[in-house]
């Protein structure tokens, strides 16, 4: 391989792997959006909260598995509480109202997380070394591969769950048509609770990986801004879309940074993903895999 080509491949691979990290956050959004039509802006705050709780427990001397279990329990409680106290009273409100409510929730969680655990930056070590290794002349980070594998596992698990379990079937029914699902005897509140718990767990996984990468600090809750273009591109209601779009956004961002950055100035990764996603949307307004909506009067 020529050095130029090897560099290009390295950039793309690095981009794809960071795209997996975006997709991890995006999946949390999709779970909730699919089943309750809420764009949960608090997902980023939940990622922060999970990582901060975990790292603070570890720092207070809890062993790794115990801290993980405790954080899991906390995230379940957080998910349930949000569903009970915020979303349930707002059932049947327009989607924009629900979105703004989750914006409020995000503020509460961010404030509470930092009030409880402090604002300093914590290092989070998951015990995976971040040494790059050589695959046919291309340097790949071991940590990124681990993250990708974990994300793959999670997506596979979610897909199997949605396809083959009764609860998964119920999720799909609710996503398809809440009223019909209600008519068929599904208990909507129970399903919504389950979904919020699931998104709490996804937030935990994303929080640990992102926290290990960036350090656990307030900016972790801003990963939500990285996930939004991914969601827009993949469609808000498709898990496969989130993964594919995550990869596209990750690769496009890195490529633009390396090859476009020198011409129009650095720091473009803040918005280039948005512009790329929007340009795509103008052609196909429901995203890569999103469901087409039909308007009725």
């Amino acid at each position: 391989m020529s050095p130029d080509l090897a560099f290009l491949v390295e950039v793309v691979v690095g981009g794809l792997l960071s795209g997996v990290m975006y997709a991890l956050v995006a999946i949390g959004f999709v779970l909730i959006y699919k089943t309750s039509g809420v764009l949960n802006f608090a997902q980023g705050a939940m990622v922060l909260f999970a990582a901060l709780t975990f790292v603070s427990l570890v720092e207070r001397g809890l062993p790794f598995p115990a801290a993980l279990a405790a954080t899991l329990a906390v995230m379940v409680v957080v998910g349930l509480t949000i569903e009970r106290t915020v979303l349930r009273p707002l059932v049947n409100q327009p989607p924009i109202t629900l979105f703004m409510a989750t914006l409020g929730v995000a503020y509460v969680i961010e404030g509470a997380a930092q009030l409880a655990w402090g604002t300093q930056v914590h290092a989070l070590d998951l015990g995976i070394d971040d040494t790059p290794f050589d695959v046919a002349g291309v340097l790949v980070s071991r940590f990124d591969l681990f993250a990708a594998a974990l994300a793959g596992l999670m997506v596979a698990g979610l897909t199997l769950f949605f396809r083959f379990t009764r609860t998964g079937l119920a999720f799909r029914a609710v996503a398809d048509d809440p009223l019909a699902a209600l008519n068929a005897g599904l208990r909507l509140p129970r399903i919504w609770s389950a979904v919020w718990i699931a998104s709490g767990l996804v937030a935990l996984v994303a929080g640990l990986l992102w926290g290990a990468r960036l350090g656990v600090q307030f900016s972790l809750s801003l990963v939500v801004l990285k996930a939004l273009p991914v969601l827009v591109l993949g469609g808000f209601d498709s898990i496969a879309g989130a993964i594919v779009a995550g990869l596209i956004v990750g690769a496009a961002e890195k490529l633009a940074e390396v090859y476009l950055g020198p011409f129009i100035g650095g720091g473009i990764e803040g918005w280039i993903a948005y512009v790329a996603a929007l340009a795509f949307l103008l052609v196909k307004p429901s995203g890569l895999f999103g469901l087409r909506s039909v308007e009725r009067v």
């Binding site: 109202t97 979105f99 409020g104 509460v108 803040g270 103008l282």
Partner: protein, 347 residues
């Protein structure tokens, strides 16, 4: 998409007008006489700028139902446009500068609104985020916009109209007040005009609006332009009258959310909501810091205050959306009606 927002018609017209005249008389007559420098600088001037920004966003989000998360970007466009105009066209009188800055913001707003022709709901909200990040990046990167100042921070010009100086605290308050009063009057005329009705029609049911003949695409772009015009001028006030410097950092995503919160707490789809919400947002940190200091003493530092403020604000948003979706404006109306009924019992 059906909303439960009021059309803002069912109000006793005469009491409303009398109330507004009374408020204006107070704001122009009594407040400048009694107010202190602190009141003008730390409370009233930022309140007026934020209220104006809320008013502009409310046209877009409250009336036309188009959610924007990029208000701070339009404020920044207005502020930097006004700075550049006053720098490069020194002879231009200040009102003309402000008007032109508003028009620049309106033009940017109309461009930013283009995705609204294809996208709706969350997809559109995300597209306004793109504007937010792009504008912040452009202001940092393109040196010409900040006159090649290395930090991007530049001093605002003096506030002078026709030889009259508005440079002291009271003057800047009166200047802001006048701008806000004029624009509020225009916005009030607008929402009562056929155009204003079209905005509400699109919010309440876009397809139905199209069927009855509302030109949806044009009206949406108009909503973006009008809203950005007002928000841009709010940005001028924020930079010129309140901070007296123009800097990109003050126009970040948090500011955009703050303005959205003003609109939600104050009341979507009402003009007075922006003022109630802005008053609330400005006073809340002051009240919290007093309460916290009284309760905890020295343990209540500014970091804790910020966190508590975040929690209270977030919780209030949720509470308002659940308990009173029409915001403080509806609360105030009910209280006023109650009080009036007590004064003038129906026979």
């Amino acid at each position: 998409m059906a909303t439960a927002l009021p059309l803002d018609l069912a109000r006793p017209r005469r009491t409303g007008a009398a109330g507004i005249l009374l408020l204006l008389a107070l704001a122009y007559g009594l407040v400048p006489l009694l107010g202190t420098g602190y009141l003008f600088e730390a409370i009233l001037t930022p309140f007026l700028a934020l209220a104006l920004a809320g008013l502009g966003l409310n046209l877009l989000t409250g009336y036309a139902g188009l959610l924007s998360l990029g208000s701070a970007a339009f404020m920044a466009v207005g502020a930097y446009a006004a700075f550049n105009l006053s720098l490069r066209l020194p002879g231009l009188p200040l009102p003309a500068t402000i008007l032109l800055a508003g028009l620049v913001a309106a033009a940017v707003g109309a461009v930013a609104g283009l995705p609204a022709l294809r996208l709706r709901g969350f997809y559109l909200a995300v597209s306004t985020l793109a504007v937010q990040f792009f504008v912040a990046w452009a202001l940092n990167r393109i040196g010409w916009l900040s006159n090649d100042s290395p930090s991007g921070i530049v001093a605002a010009p003096r506030l002078e109209v026709a030889g009259l100086s508005f440079d002291d605290a009271r003057g800047r308050y009166l200047f802001s007040l006048t701008v806000v009063a004029v624009l509020t009057f225009l916005a009030w005329r607008l929402v009562r005009s056929p155009t204003g009705r079209n905005l509400v029609a699109i919010r309440d049911h876009e397809t139905a609006a199209r069927i009855v003949g509302v030109k949806v695409a044009r009206t949406k772009l108009l909503a973006f332009a009008l809203s950005s015009f007002i928000v841009g001028i709010a940005g001028v006030l924020w930079a010129f009258a309140y901070l007296r410097t123009v800097e990109p950092a003050g126009f970040n995503l948090d500011r955009s959310f703050q303005i959205l919160f003003i609109v939600i707490i104050g009341g979507l789809g009402t003009l007075r909501g922006a003022f109630l919400g802005a008053g609330f947002i400005v006073v809340l940190p002051l009240v919290l810091s007093r309460l916290g200091a009284a309760a905890l003493g020295d343990g209540f530092d500014s970091g804790t205050l910020e966190m508590v403020q975040r929690i209270v604000l977030g919780a209030l948003i949720v509470a308002v959306l659940i308990r009173e979706p029409a915001g403080l404006a509806a609360l105030l109306d009910r209280a006023l009606n109650h009080a009036l009924r007590r004064v003038r019992p129906r026979s």
